[in-house]
């Protein structure tokens, strides 16, 4: 009676409850809406600066980072070859982490900056996270860069984001090749500018043999649309006679979704920053058994310590998949 193929990962991740690690703040408080708000982190000091001065400061910082990377490239060693922090356990690390990078606009507004500054700061956060994931053995990192619903934003912002993606892919391609990072892009790429589409397919082609970390960037992506396109592809297979209606199963749908580019399509952990507690039409099917972590920090402020907090919370969870331990 119960011969349904269930989309449950076959690796046994049922773990007994580990004793809580001593951390300064209870990690459960992170997702508990009745707990008192933690004392707000002080904002980075805001001197009254003009936009030009801020832009210059950013430019100098980026130049310094470029220099550092060039130096380390020559030395053949990544500047932050981070070992796993002692609070985390190697065998409990998630294989696939998904991130909704929310809060760039709010971060910029808080500092009186234009939204573009927020997105630039967000790109920096992402670079840091990709490096950490690469060093800590996370196999797949999926990030929600641009939703299908975001096309309605002001044209100036959308154009800036497209330019930002192009710039980031071009500048990071060397690092991906060196660090063994494979980049894949999911979403409706037909709406992207031609130059970006070409850049993406070139980058995907160049990095497709890399296997240390797979970075999946969701651009112009909608979870519902993903399922619909899987359904259409199945329907056309049925129409062509390659498939019978009875053969349609959950694993078949899984193979037709856009996340079929990876061995681990189901995220173990989903992090959403800026305190919003919603999925917002990201990876709907794939999030069936994913543990959620809602971080209060805005995305540009999400760094190593916040990521460690999310991982600690993840490692303490009991994943039962509907059964009992």
């Amino acid at each position: 009676m119960l011969s349904l193929p269930l989309p449950i990962p076959t690796k046994n991740t049922l773990i007994p409850l580990r004793p809580k690690h001593s951390c300064s703040r209870s990690t459960r408080a992170q997702t508990h809406p009745f707990s008192p708000l933690p004392s707000p982190k002080p904002l980075k000091p805001l001197e009254p600066t003009t936009v030009a001065r801020v832009a210059l400061r950013e430019h100098v910082q980026e130049e310094e980072e470029e220099e550092r990377r060039d130096r380390s490239a020559l030395a053949g060693v990544s500047p932050e070859g981070e070992p796993l922090p002692s609070e985390l356990q190697d065998d409990l690390m998630p294989k696939h982490v998904a991130v909704i990078m929310d809060g760039n606009g709010r971060w910029a507004r808080q500092r009186g900056l234009p939204a573009s500054a927020g997105h630039n700061a967000g790109a920096r956060s992402l670079r840091e996270l990709v490096e950490l994931c690469g060093h800590w053995g996370i196999r797949v990192l999926t990030v929600f860069a641009f939703s299908y619903d975001n096309w309605i934003r002001p044209k100036v912002e959308v154009d800036f984001l497209m330019t930002l993606f192009e710039r980031e892919i071009k500048s990071q391609l060397d690092i991906f090749l060196r660090e063994g990072i494979r980049i894949s892009v999911i979403g409706d790429s037909s709406k992207l500018p031609e130059s970006l589409q070409k850049l993406i397919s070139d980058a995907e082609e160049a990095t497709k043999a890399n296997s240390r970390l797979q970075l999946i960037v969701a651009v112009s992506y909608s979870g519902k649309y993903d399922i619909i396109q899987a359904c259409r592809s199945i329907a056309s297979k049925v129409k062509d006679g390659a498939l019978e209606l009875e053969d349609i199963s959950e694993s078949l749908i899984e193979q037709e979704l856009e996340t079929n580019c990876t061995e681990f399509p189901y995220p173990d952990l989903l992090i959403r920053t800026s305190g919003e507690q919603r999925v917002s039409n990201f990876l709907l099917w794939q999030l069936a058994y994913t543990e959620f972590f809602f971080a209060r920090e805005l995305w540009p402020d999400f760094g190593k310590s916040e990521f460690v907090e999310a991982l600690i919370s993840f490692q303490q969870r009991q994943r039962r998949y509907g059964a009992r331990l």
Binding site: M1, L2, L4, L6, P7, I8, R28, T31, H32, P33, F34, D149, I152, G223, K224, Y225, I227, I228, A230, C231, R232, I234, A235, V238, K239, L245, I248, S249, E250, I253, Q277, R278, V279, S280, N281, L284, W285, L287, A288, Y289, T290, E291, F292, F293, F294, R317, Y321, G322, A323, R324
Partner: protein, 290 residues
């Protein structure tokens, strides 16, 4: 004599509590009220262990908590309530537990049909959603009887998800959409007009019209009987969906209070509504942009 006074005092106290609750709801109704709330009722077994109860009693206390929450929802004016009663994954549990849950469900479903039950008091129409073929015969028949008995109620809706997982629901919708399209195409072919189109050249517009759309999939979902939820609450502090309403929760707010389901009460409900009202205007603005 004392017993009489005791029960009078209880009655007066009960009336006072109800009056205060209704007043609070009147005040809340000035602001936006969620149209649809979904509950994942997690923590029954942990509650039973915590209180040293016999096996299965945690779920019975959980049922009482459910009745209270339904009362609060319908009194406030929430029109749709969905609950995750039993997942397809739960069939993996040990057979005794599954059987005791099935027995409990059958008992409570039969209770729902009775005259004085909550569904008749608030005019609630009950739906049982999921792959009902997986249920045992007596439970399935009881569910069908309950659906027929409440079919004429129209003030509110209660959707009880049994033998349900969201991936199974989407799979079912995909199968039905493919079947429908297949029948459409077969009809076109047999009537000869499809043949004609192929002769003339199948142009792109026809290709696009024949594609499966969002609306085709949505109309075959089990949850077509209700709009998307505004709030999804999972008790006992676990922050995951466990294959519940994946499609429908694309834009809804997710809350995970750490209270166990049998311990949930009025103050948690109140807090949820206040949070909803606090976030509502910001979310509405975003939704209007869509």
């Amino acid at each position: 004599m004392e017993k009489g006074i005791g029960s009078r005092i209880n009655q007066i106290w009960g009336n006072l509590v109800t009056f205060m609750r209704r007043s609070i709801f009147c005040v809340l109704s000035v602001g936006p009220i969620p149209n649809h709330i979904a509950f994942i009722m997690d923590g029954n077994r942990r509650y039973g262990k915590k209180q040293n109860l016999m096996k299965g009693t945690g779920h019975r206390v959980g049922f009482l908590a459910l009745m209270s929450m339904l009362k609060y929802c319908y009194e406030l004016g929430v029109q749709y309530v969905t609950i995750y009663a039993f997942s397809i994954d739960n069939f993996k549990r040990c057979p005794e537990e599954v059987q005791s849950l099935m027995d409990l469900m059958q008992e409570k479903i039969e209770g729902l049909i009775k005259e004085e039950s909550i569904v008749n008091r608030y005019g609630v129409r009950v739906h049982f959603l999921g792959n009902l073929k997986l249920l045992s015969e007596p439970v399935r028949l009881a569910a069908e009887r309950a659906m027929m008995a409440t079919a004429n109620n129209s003030k509110a809706v209660l959707s009880i998800c049994v033998a349900y997982t969201s991936t199974n629901e989407i799979l079912h919708a995909v199968q039905k959409s493919c079947e429908e399209k297949w029948e459409e195409i077969s009809k076109l072919n047999t009537s000869g007009s499809g043949y004609g189109l192929i002769q003339l050249g199948w142009n792109e517009k026809d290709e696009r019209e024949n594609l499966i759309k969002l609306i085709d999939i949505e109309k075959h979902m089990y949850m077509v009987v209700a709009p998307d939820p505004d709030i999804l609450i999972r008790t006992s502090g676990e922050t995951r969906l466990s294959n519940f309403l994946l499609w429908q929760s694309a834009y809804c707010s997710l809350y995970s209070p750490s209270v166990l389901w049998p311990e949930i009460g009025f103050r948690h409900f109140l807090w949820t509504i206040l949070n909803f009202q606090r976030n509502h205007f910001y979310l509405e603005k975003k939704r209007k942009q869509l």
